[in-house]
């Protein structure tokens, strides 16, 4: 029996200049929507309107960046909406409590508390899912109920308004601009950039994608699924906290209905953005585009007078389905 070495086969080191439709899809959809909007109502493209819409989409975008981690690591989080309400509540209560002593400094202190609370909430979700080995859908449906109940309890069924003296000082976090760009937009871009950096440029990002793509392979490669997925939930929690921080000045209060149904919007943004729900690959910038798309659709509905008020939800549904269809079949 015999054999020897083969010649060191030289391989073509071809880059693929193929246009990646899945990746480009959400951005194309965005362009199409902008064009349609302009046709329907030229005001649509006004700087004020666009900046309003994008600012508004910031909450969902920030939370959805976190969701991109969770989903790409193979999880799911239905609790983000009520977690946002809960964190908003905690933050406002703490700020109000501190204001007599530290005045305006209670704002940064409150923000720090918000982040800690977010991390804690994420940790709870993560541990239940990973250590408890419970289907993420059910586990986070459970914590969704828990967070929602807690905010209802904390607000005694009513609202938790932020202290009047803090209002003006806090306002700029939502309403302020830097170089003409609203602060929430900048914050969400920063969060997305950081998210993209972590997901694409760090070891953790790799591990996250591996855990979502094939749990066994990841495990056999020395990656702790528990650790990886738990961190993803913690990142999600931190993102929710950042969103909550930006949210407070917009509405000035936490209520039992804050953030209701955000989870569905968040997941929709992630999926429209091109991340597969079954895990593996995450697309942070697609997610951000997805969040903006959702807000744009809603905005278009308000600005146009074509459809009955009652049918807005239907048109949104149809547009989302069509967008996904185009994405599928343009490949």
């Amino acid at each position: 029996m015999s054999v020897a070495t083969t010649e060191p086969g030289r391989l073509e080191r071809d880059r693929d200049f193929n246009f990646n439709w899945t990746a480009a899809g959400p951005f194309l959809a965005l362009l199409v929507l902008l064009a349609i909007g302009f046709v329907i109502n030229p005001d649509f493209l006004s700087a004020t309107n666009l900046s309003n819409v994008i600012t508004r989409s910031a909450f969902i975008a920030i939370i959805a960046v976190g969701a991109t981690f969770v989903i790409s690591s193979g999880g799911l989080d239905l609790s983000v909406g009520s977690m946002a309400a809960f964190i908003t509540g905690i933050t406002i209560m703490c700020m109000n409590m501190m204001v007599p002593n530290v005045g305006v400094w209670s704002i940064p202190a409150g923000m720090a508390i918000a982040i800690l609370a977010g991390i804690a909430c994420g940790l709870v979700n993560g541990v239940i899912v990973t250590v408890g080995k419970i289907e993420p859908f059910i586990a986070t449906l459970g914590t969704m109920g828990i967070f929602r109940a807690l905010i209802t309890y904390m607000s005694d069924g009513g609202t938790i308004p932020i202290d009047r003296t803090l209002r003006e000082a806090y306002r700029p976090v939502y309403f302020g601009t830097v170089a003409g760009i609203p602060l929430p937009i900048l914050i969400s871009l920063a969060v997305a950039a950081l998210g993209a950096f972590i997901l694409y440029k760090t070891k953790y990002g790799r591990q996250c994608a591996a855990a979502g793509a094939n749990e066994d392979v990841a495990r056999y490669s020395g990656i702790s699924i528990i650790r990886t997925r738990t961190i993803a939930y913690v990142i999600q929690g931190a993102c929710v906290a950042i969103a909550a921080i930006c949210y407070v000045p917009r509405l000035g209060a936490a209520t039992p209905t804050t953030g209701v149904l955000w989870e569905l919007q968040v997941i929709t943004a992630v999926v429209i953005g091109g991340t597969a729900l079954r895990g593996g690959k995450g697309r942070i910038w697609g997610t951000v585009a997805g969040a903006v798309i959702l807000e744009l659709i809603a905005n278009l509905m308000v600005l146009s007078d074509f459809v009955s008020e009652y049918l807005v939800a239907a048109v949104q549904g149809v547009i989302i389905i069509i967008a996904m269809l185009i994405q599928r079949f343009s490949k």
Binding site: N41, G158, G252, T255, V302
Partner: protein, 293 residues
Amino acid sequence: ADKKVVAVSIPAADHGWTSGIVYHAQAAAKEINAAFPNVEVVVKTSPSAAAQVSALEDLSAGRKLDALVILPHTSEELTMPVKAVKEGGTFITVVDRGLNDPAIQDLYLAGDNIAVGKNTAKFLVDKLGGKGNLVVLRGIPTVIDDERIQGFKDGIAGSDLKILDIQYANWNSDDAFKLMQDYLAKYPQIDAVWANDDDMLLGVLEAIKQSSRTEIKYALGGNGMKEIIKKVIDGDAMTPVETPYPPSMIKTAIYMTVANLIGQAPIRGVVKLDAPLITKDNAAEYYFPDSPF
């Protein structure tokens, strides 16, 4: 040439009463747009407080609003955004669920929620001879709900009427049906039920009917739903009274706002609709069989 723009921002139809609001707002818009060529009334519904804030931004981003009629989803969250609209020189009319800062509104129109609770309670104290067991179904966590419960508690204060239980049924008949079934299972002796909204009362009545329990003397609601008013007119033993809280208040508010804009009839201030007890005697005044609510 230059039309006056009146924006109407209301919650989407998420239960019977709000669907009445939507109905009346749209009717008013249609009538006014037809009658006054120089006025344009735009109605937008929003499914949540956040969406309503967005809608306000959208409505005022493109054009200048001459007036805004708003039924805020929640008080706290809409206060600042409405203030922002006001600062653009818009006349503000607030309906039902108020804002936190009354200085913002030019006109406020609402029902009397304290009275809704109190008048119902007084009726029960009177009819039950000041003693008995009650169960209460409340709506969703809002100021209005709190006020009604408060009014009710005030109303029975000093009597021996006892509230066995108060729980949320979300102003939803289905949830109310379940909750009432459970109340019935839990308490062997219930003398009267109060649901602070007629949607819920419908569910309560179904549950009582199914249980064939006979000790329950009264099941009362509130809001003036036409089905319930009909019962009052028919002399129903279990639901002989009702309190009004008509969703048509939105229409009144829109008309008043338009009158202020073009009718050379300056209107400012607070309008509070009474919530007297509706009984067989006066029920006909509150009965509108063709309205959706």
